[in-house]
């Protein structure tokens, strides 16, 4: 397949996009770790600091995404389809947005009592970020396609687990929480967390579609 040969030929030379994607996915891990600490700490002022850290990391992620878009405008040759570069960058950005969004809601709604399901989904998000990062780092040679597909499989299974925990958590809110206001608050936070895992799945989908075209 000659197109594929051309592809193989350009990939090793790409000094622009892969480092940016690795910055973006590395940033995701930091976001996931900060969120995990924020929901597990008993120290409210530490949590406030961590939410500030998440804020800064999300801005950093925005800058990286923006730089990828700028490079897309400047570079004629890209390691894979321009549309896929665009989709991958924005899917990674979406994960960051929802991690930030859930932390933000905790702060805005004055929610300081973290529940078991919040902690569990947060663990899953961090695991998802680690898998996104692992897969993204393999894109530059595409020799270990298996590593990428394995990460995608784990991300899909992680998203299923998060779905299940979310559903159960909301059912329990209805059963054990009398105050409708509290139900809404916790549902909103859980929903932002769960959407972060959906966005990990979106990244997995983009990665799979890149593999389909290039592998």
């Amino acid at each position: 397949m000659s197109l594929n040969n051309i592809f193989q030929y350009f990939v090793p030379k790409d000094r622009v996009f892969f480092p940016l994607f690795e910055q973006a996915s590395g940033n995701l891990i930091k976001l996931g770790e900060a969120l995990q600490e924020a929901v597990n700490t008993k120290d409210d002022s530490r949590r406030t600091d961590l939410i500030k850290v998440i804020d800064d990391l999300e801005h950093k992620g925005d800058d990286i995404t923006h730089q990828i878009y700028l490079e897309l405008g400047k570079n004629f040759i890209t390691p894979f389809d321009r549309e896929d570069i665009h989709s991958l960058a924005s899917a990674i950005d979406d994960i960051a947005d929802y991690i930030h969004g859930s932390a933000n809601r905790m702060a805005l709604y004055n929610v300081t009592t973290m529940t078991e399901p919040i902690m569990k989904i947060t663990d899953l998000i961090l695991q998802g970020c680690i898998d996104v990062d692992k897969a993204v780092r393999e894109l530059k040679n595409l020799k270990n396609i298996r590593t990428i597909t394995d990460s995608c499989v784990r991300i899909n299974s992680m998203e299923n687990q998060a779905d299940y925990i979310f559903d159960k958590a909301v059912a329990q809110l209805f059963e054990y929480e009398a105050d409708a206001k509290e139900i809404i608050k916790y549902k909103e936070i859980l929903s932002a967390l769960e959407t972060a895992t959906d966005k990990c799945e979106d990244v997995a989908n983009v990665l799979e579609s890149i593999l389909v075209k290039n592998a």
Copy 2:
């Protein structure tokens, strides 16, 4: 148009993707029928059984979707754009997910009293699944494009009706339901149902974009 000739040439030979898509859309009809029976039965234990059936059908749908992705990786020649095959498979999968999601919420929230709008949107979902199936079965020859576009038109109109019923139903919850908890529960179920109709519309959009490129 020579590209189109090539297309016509390959289509009759495709023994892989069309049967899988037909399995997926056939599975959707079963999901729609099980949901319809579940919301109409007065027998709570029958409903519980049907929700279990929906669970199984959704897993079956997942397997079919996964197989389509696997075949995409193996086959160099596809009856239409690889990306469209991917989009169509995942849009059909999304319908199954939301049918499953709404049934799941009924079970999780212990909602056993089904309302008129729940039944009506469920009827619309089944109708949407039947139209999705009808359109998908025409893809293999593309001789009756009209059949596909007619299904798409009906799906779009069905989605509009579901939207309208959803809006009215939520307004009536606010007007006649005093318990905020109940409002939230029913709104969640109605919203999952309504999203299932949105996903039917997504399938119609993918179908239309396949026609735009290949017809």
Copy 3:
């Protein structure tokens, strides 16, 4: 770049798509203006009339979108990728849908007391519609790419502001509104408004991806 030359060559001749897109984006401004007046008027019957106007404008938008799809089916040569024309048309249509959706909810939920955040996000939506229109009108020559990217930057910043106002508004509902029902109603309206700004951002993303490919 010869492809680009071909592109430049066809663009001035396009008498079909650009006028339709300009109708669609012009219609958006009317929708934004009607919504702005609807949330600012103290006259309930005037608001009812305006919501009717928004209804009609949304239908008009649907017709324009549909016409773009029809032309896509008829025209072999398009000024840019068929998929991008499809995406741009449906993203513009989505903005109209959510403007319509938020007005509709005000009517359905009998919400007549408009709050500061509702008014502010409505101002932002109108601003977004004006920027979408400005950018769309530049597509036909692509000589002032800067005008398009400037609009996209403003749309992105507008969406950020709307996000922030939405978050704050929901936090304040939790803090100052005792009635959970009212919280849900206002949250729903604010959320439809905020989604309209998200859809403006989607348009900006499609525009950016058109520039990436054609500029």
